[in-house]
């Protein structure tokens, strides 16, 4: 399979086979990183971050550097011509003239699609508002695959901000293609998953109580209430502590539960969970770099997926 020149904007842009190919390449990179240290030598990645990011931006930059490539970009729009009112279309046309591949995060939903249509180089969506975040999904899936071996038949709980949680939206779309996956959506009424995401699921239930759902789960995907998406501070304050997972609550869960979180967390996972063997969110974060190495290499045509 050849992904050279492709964009990754939405979670279903990659077929199941192509995703499996990326997981396989990631596992090879994890096993022997030194063999890939010069794979993208001479290639330049542009990182366009119109919104703050720690993990996604740094993991992309680390991924490119570990592949022997180089990185340019901005991490806040105030330091670029965006602050002068430049459109996304013009910015991406410019960047495509300098770099070989670009990663963009932007607060507006659909911004990555607009950019991709004007880009002559592969575009990767690193989060477009509360819409999608497909490379976090690759990270999440790789983490589940490494631990569980696959996805068929798993019961996954999505907890917290399912309305604005772009990582949740992407993960649901991607997992919906595997057999027998059951979703349990845990959120307050105001933060329910949007209709276009509910339409993607065939087997799901919506509950308000995390404790009720916990014993049934193979994977628990916790999320932060997305403060930056609220127009009203009062609503945020009222909802921000809707769900807090702690060691006491985890006693009701299966022994082989995986607790995932795209990070950053605020207080939805108490720190007394961090040392529990079921806490996978720090491993998940590290896997993000490896899957992004695989993705960059594939989109640049430097790795053929098998």
């Amino acid at each position: 399979m050849d992904l050279q020149g492709r964009h990754l904007i939405a979670p279903l842009d990659l077929t199941v086979e192509e995703m499996e190919g990326l997981f396989s390449l990631s596992q090879k990179i994890i096993a022997r990183p030194e063999e890939y240290a010069e794979l993208c030598k001479g290639k330049l990645l542009a990182t366009l971050f119109y919104e703050p990011s720690t993990r996604t931006r740094l993991s992309f930059e680390a991924a490119m550097l570990r592949l022997g490539g180089q990185v340019i970009g901005f991490s806040e729009p105030q330091s670029s011509s965006v602050s002068k009112g430049e459109s996304i279309a013009d910015t991406i046309r410019t960047v495509a003239g300098y770099a070989d591949i670009a990663v963009m995060r932007h607060p507006k939903e659909g911004s990555a699609l607009v950019a991709a249509r004007k880009s002559g180089i592969p575009m990767i969506n690193a989060g477009d508002g509360g819409h999608f975040h497909p490379t976090q999904t690759l990270t999440d899936l790789l983490t589940i695959k490494l631990e569980k071996g696959g996805f068929d038949g798993i019961t996954i709980g999505m907890c917290g901000d399912l309305k604005f949680g772009r990582t949740v939206h992407s993960l649901i779309c991607a997992l919906g293609r595997y057999r027998g996956v059951k979703f349990i959506l845990v959120s307050p009424e105001e933060l329910r998953a949007p209709e276009y995401i509910r339409d993607e699921m065939t087997d799901f239930e919506e509950v308000r109580d995390l404790s009720e759902a916990l014993p049934k789960l193979d994977v628990l995907y916790m999320t932060r209430v997305q403060k930056e998406r609220f127009f009203n501070e009062e609503d945020y304050i009222r909802l921000k502590d809707s769900y807090i997972l702690n060691a006491a609550k985890l006693k009701k869960a299966k022994d082989d539960l995986m607790v995932l979180h795209p990070l950053p967390r605020v207080n939805e996972i108490a720190i007394d969970v961090d040392d529990d063997p079921r806490a996978f969110y720090f491993k998940q974060m590290k896997n993000g770099m490896y899957i992004r190495m695989a993705l960059l290499a594939a989109l640049l045509g430097k790795a053929d997926l098998t």
Binding site: H106, G110, L113, V114
Partner: protein, 140 residues
């Protein structure tokens, strides 16, 4: 009120009374190509009151959008005084710059891009924004 019939062109009949102006606007007719008549609020056996649009000497008008605005309307094509075709309207698969995305976080609220919607469900008339996937229900 007496309205002359046309020999060649298109008649859009049975429009909901009061919607004619809006329909004419969305059809984006080049008024230099022929004569255009908008007849409003005339008695109708079917709907009590209706609007009618008559486009004399027009052949190709994109009526796709009509299925979205008023699917009860009838589009009649006339040649040499004879009705040659009647169109059954249905919801269009794709509409551009007709529906506007109501999601304040959508890129269409910021960047100069067309508002594009795709039909997501024929039965419920749900349309999905091409950019942010926000769903709106037909002609709200």
């Amino acid at each position: 009120m007496e309205i002359n019939s046309i020999s060649n062109g298109i008649v859009i009949d049975h429009l909901q009374a009061g919607s004619g102006m809006k329909v004419l606007d969305y059809l984006n007719i080049d008024t230099e190509l022929g004569s255009v008549a908008l007849i409003m609020n005339v008695p109708s056996r079917k709907y009590d009151r209706k609007d009618i649009i008559k486009l004399e000497n027009y052949e190709n008008v994109d009526v796709n959008v009509l299925g979205l605005i008023d699917h009860n309307a009838t589009v009649i094509y006339i040649q040499n005084g004879e009705i040659v075709k009647k169109l059954n309207l249905k919801l269009p698969q794709k509409v551009t710059n007709v529906l506007k995305c109501k999601n304040p976080r959508c890129i269409t609220s910021m960047e100069a891009v067309p508002n594009v919607f795709h039909l997501a469900d024929n039965v419920s008339g749900k349309y999905k924004c091409e950019y942010c996937d926000n769903i709106i229900k037909s002609w709200e």
